[in-house]
C-alpha cells in the first residue's frame, strides 16, 4: 500500500518510459478524438460531436474541480456537492427569467450582461451555501469517512428538498438568451454557439486554475497541503482557512457549472445535481482523487466518449462511462494522475 523507500543514491533523470507514463493521460484525449473520427467516418458529424463532447466535458470539469481539491486537501468526500449544482442552476435561471427582457433582446451586450449577473448570483449563493455546509455538516465529522458520507448524503437530500419547497416540484424550462441560440456552420458541420462558449469558459477556468495553483503562494499551499497537510501546518500556514476557501470556491464553481448545464439542457430539475454527481464521481475517480489536471482530462474523456457512443450505439452511451472507469482503473488502480500522499 505504501511506496517502497527510496534507495536511489543519486539523482536519477526521468527515464523515457517515466516521461511517457506521465504524459499518457494527456495523450488519451487526441487518441480518443482520432478513434472517434475513424469510427464515425463523417467529418461533419464527428466535428459536431467533438465540440459537444468537449463542451460537456468542460462543464463536468467545472463541477468536479472543487470536489477533487476538497478531497485532496482535507480527505473530505462531499456527497452533497451535487446540491450546489442544482441550487446554482435554480438561482441562475431565476435571475435569467427575471431579466427576460434582456435575454429576449437580440443584443449581445444585454444577453451577456444577463448571463453574467445570473452567474454571479448563482456563485454567490452557492459559495455562501458551501460555507454554511462546511460549518454545519462537514466540520463535525472530520476524519471519519463513514460519517462524512452519510452526513453529506443527508445534506444533499435536505437541500434538494428545500429546492422543491422554494421553487415548487416541477422542472423549469427556459430559453437561452437570443444571441446564444442556434448554430453556425463550420467545415460543413453545424456547431451550436452555446457549446463553443462552454468550451471557452471551461478552458479559461482550467488555465486560470492552473496558474493559481502553480504561480501563487496560495496555490503552492494547496498543492503541498494535498500531499502533506501536517507539514504545511508545521511551516506556519493555517490549512483550515485555506481549506474553507477551497470549499467555498469549489461550491461556487459547482454553482457555475449548474447554471451552464441548465442553459445547455434548457431545463432544470432539483435532481439534476444528483444526476451530474454520478458523472462527477466517475471523473474524479478516473482522474485520481485530489488532482485537478486528472479531473480535467477525465472530464473531457467522459464528455467525448459519451457523445461518440451516443451517436454510434445509443443504448451503450449510459454504460460507456462505467466502461471507461473500469478500463482506467484496470490500467491505473488509483486513477490516471493520483496525488502521491507523503505519508
Amino acid at each position: 500500500m505504501t511506496a517502497a523507500p527510496d534507495h536511489k543514491p543519486t539523482f536519477a533523470d526521468l527515464s523515457l518510459s517515466d516521461r511517457i507514463g506521465k504524459a499518457a493521460p494527456y495523450l488519451l484525449i487526441p487518441v480518443l478524438v482520432v478513434l472517434g473520427f475513424l469510427a464515425i467516418g463523417s467529418t461533419s458529424s464527428w466535428l459536431t460531436l467533438t465540440v459537444s463532447g468537449l463542451a460537456m466535458g468542460m462543464m463536468i470539469f467545472i463541477m468536479a474541480s472543487g470536489l477533487t481539491l476538497v478531497f485532496g486537501l482535507m480527505d473530505v468526500i462531499n456527497f452533497g456537492h451535487g446540491a450546489f449544482i442544482s441550487v446554482g442552476a435554480f438561482v441562475g435561471i431565476t435571475v435569467l427569467i427575471w431579466l427576460g427582457s434582456w435575454t429576449g433582446a437580440p443584443s449581445l451586450m444585454l444577453n451577456v450582461a444577463a448571463v453574467l449577473l445570473a452567474v454571479i448570483a448563482a456563485m454567490c449563493v452557492t459559495g455562501a451555501l458551501g460555507w454554511g455546509f462546511e460549518r454545519v455538516i462537514v466540520r463535525p465529522v472530520y476524519g471519519a469517512h463513514l460519517k462524512q458520507i452519510l452526513v453529506t448524503v443527508g445534506g444533499l437530500i435536505v437541500i434538494e428538498q428545500l429546492i422543491h419547497v422554494v421553487w415548487g416540484p416541477e422542472e423549469i424550462f427556459l430559453n437561452r438568451p437570443e444571441t446564444l441560440k442556434g448554430a453556425f456552420t463550420f467545415a460543413g458541420a453545424a456547431i451550436e454557439r452555446y457549446r463553443v462558449l462552454a468550451v471557452v469558459v471551461g478552458l479559461v477556468l482550467f488555465v486560470a486554475m492552473r496558474l493559481v495553483l502553480r504561480r501563487t503562494k496560495i496555490g503552492l499551499i494547496v498543492r503541498a497541503g494535498v500531499q502533506n497537510g501536517e507539514m504545511v501546518e508545521a511551516l506556519g500556514y493555517r490549512l483550515r482557512l485555506v481549506f474553507i476557501g477551497v470549499f467555498v470556491a469549489g461550491s461556487a464553481l459547482a454553482g457555475l457549472g449548474g447554471v451552464m448545464w441548465g442553459l445547455y439542457q434548457e431545463v432544470i430539475t432539483a435532481g439534476m445535481g444528483e444526476e451530474m454527481m454520478i458523472l462527477v464521481f466517475i471523473v474524479v475517480i478516473i482522474g485520481g482523487l485530489g488532482s485537478v489536471e486528472g479531473a480535467f482530462i477525465g472530464a473531457l474523456l467522459v464528455g467525448l466518449l459519451q457523445n461518440y457512443i451516443a451517436f454510434l450505439e445509443p443504448k451503450l452511451a449510459l454504460i460507456s462511462n462505467i466502461g471507461l472507469m473500469t478500463a482506467v482503473l484496470m490500467w491505473r488502480p488509483q486513477g490516471m494522475m493520483p496525488v502521491v500522499k507523503a505519508k
Partner: protein, 350 residues
C-alpha cells in the same frame, strides 16, 4: 435456550429483548392479530426490509463500508424472479431459478465491484457503487423489451401463493394462498436473519469488526483485508438479492420504483442508522419503526399541511411529498447525536 439460534448474540437489554419479542410475535401472528390487506402488506414489507437492512448492516455497520448499490442487488433478486416467472411460466421452479440466479448475479457483480474499488480505497467503493447502481437503474428502465421499462413486470406465481387458493377459516381469518405467501416470506426472512446473525458472530464476523476498527492493524496481524471486505460485500449482496426475490414473490410485480430507486437506498440507510449500526437487532427496530412511520406519518403530514394552508411556506414544508426533507434532517441529526442508534442507547442505558 434461545442463545443457540441467536448465535450467542443476546440483546443485552431488557427493553430491547421485550421490543424484539413483541415484533417477533406481532409478525408471526400478523394475519390473526391485524386482519386486513393493508396491515398484511405492512407486515410483509417489514419482514423483507428487516432482512434487507440487516444485510446492509453487515457492510455498513460490521465492515465499515458504505455502498449505494444495495437496492441494485435487491432489484437483481426481484427481477430474477420476475423474469424467470415470465419466461419459464408460472411455477415453483421459476421462483427457485429466479432466486438463485438473482443471488448469484448479485454476488458476482459485488465481487467485480469489490475487487475494483476495495483494493484501492474503501472510499472508492461508495462512489463506484453509486455510479454503477444509477447506471443499472437507468438501464433497467430503458431496456423495456426485457424489463418492462418504467412500467415494470407483472407475472403469475404458483396458485398456492395467491388469494385464489382457499383452504378455509381459522379464528375467523380466511386461510388462503396469500396467507401462505406471507408465511413463506416470514419464515424465509427469519432464517435469513438468523443466518446473518450467525455470520457476524462467527470468527469471520469478528475479523470484519477488527478491520472496521483498524484496517492497518488487521492487515499487519496477517488478515487479508481486501479478501474479507470483498467476501462481506458478496454475502451482503446475495442476501439482499434473496430479499428482493421474496419481495417479488410477495408483490407479484416488479418495477424500477419499487426495487431500484435511490429513495429506497436512502430508506435503508436511515433504517440502519436509526436502529443502530453494527447491531443486527438495530435492523429489526429500524425497519419496523420506519415502515410503520412511512405508512402512517405521511398521511399525518397531509393533514398538517392542509391545516396550515393559510400560512406561507409552511404547507409546502409539510406536504407529504416533502417526506424526504424531514427524513434527511432526521438522518443528519441521528448520525451526529445518535450514532449508535436505538439499540446502542438501549444497551448503554441498561
Amino acid at each position: 435456550m434461545l442463545t443457540r439460534p441467536l448465535s450467542g448474540d443476546k440483546p443485552r437489554s431488557t427493553v430491547l429483548t421485550v421490543l424484539l419479542l413483541v415484533i417477533l410475535v406481532a409478525l408471526a401472528l400478523a394475519p390473526f392479530l391485524f386482519p386486513g390487506v393493508r396491515s398484511l402488506e405492512t407486515a410483509a414489507r417489514i419482514c423483507i426490509f428487516i432482512v434487507l437492512v440487516a444485510s446492509y448492516d453487515l457492510l455498513l455497520g460490521y465492515t465499515g463500508i458504505v455502498s449505494f448499490a444495495h437496492t441494485m442487488f435487491f432489484g437483481l433478486g426481484a427481477y430474477g424472479v420476475a423474469l424467470a416467472s415470465v419466461h419459464m411460466g408460472r411455477g415453483w421452479g421459476a421462483l427457485l431459478t429466479g432466486t438463485v440466479a438473482g443471488a448469484l448475479a448479485a454476488a458476482a457483480l459485488a465481487l467485480v465491484i469489490g475487487l475494483f474499488s476495495l483494493r484501492v480505497r474503501a472510499i472508492f467503493f461508495a462512489m463506484i457503487t453509486l455510479a454503477v447502481a444509477s447506471a443499472v437503474a437507468v438501464l433497467v428502465s430503458q431496456m423495456s423489451g426485457l424489463t418492462g421499462g418504467e412500467d415494470g413486470l407483472n407475472y403469475q406465481i404458483p396458485r398456492e401463493l395467491t388469494p385464489a387458493f382457499r383452504l378455509g377459516e381459522l379464528f375467523g381469518v380466511r386461510i388462503n394462498g396469500k396467507l401462505l405467501n406471507y408465511y413463506l416470506v416470514f419464515f424465509a426472512c427469519l432464517i435469513l436473519f438468523l443466518l446473518l446473525l450467525r455470520i457476524v458472530n462467527s470468527p469471520f464476523g469478528r475479523v470484519l469488526q477488527a478491520i472496521r476498527e483498524n484496517d492497518f492493524r488487521a492487515e499487519a496481524i496477517g488478515y487479508r483485508v481486501v479478501w474479507y471486505r470483498v467476501t462481506a460485500t458478496c454475502l451482503s449482496a446475495a442476501v439482499a438479492a434473496i430479499a428482493g426475490s421474496l419481495f417479488a414473490i410477495w408483490l407479484r410485480y416488479v418495477g424500477p420504483d419499487t426495487t431500484l430507486s435511490f429513495e429506497i437506498m436512502l430508506d435503508i440507510l436511515l433504517m440502519v442508522v436509526i436502529g443502530g449500526m453494527g447491531t443486527m437487532y438495530g435492523a429489526v427496530l429500524g425497519a419496523t419503526i420506519f415502515v410503520l412511520a412511512q405508512n402512517y406519518l405521511q398521511s399525518l403530514m397531509g393533514v398538517a399541511s392542509e391545516a396550515t394552508e393559510a400560512l406561507p411556506l409552511i404547507p409546502n414544508l409539510l406536504d407529504p411529498d416533502r417526506w424526504l426533507l424531514w427524513l434527511g434532517v432526521l438522518f443528519i441529526l441521528s448520525v451526529y447525536f445518535f450514532p449508535t442508534g436505538i439499540v446502542g442507547r438501549l444497551r448503554s442505558g441498561r
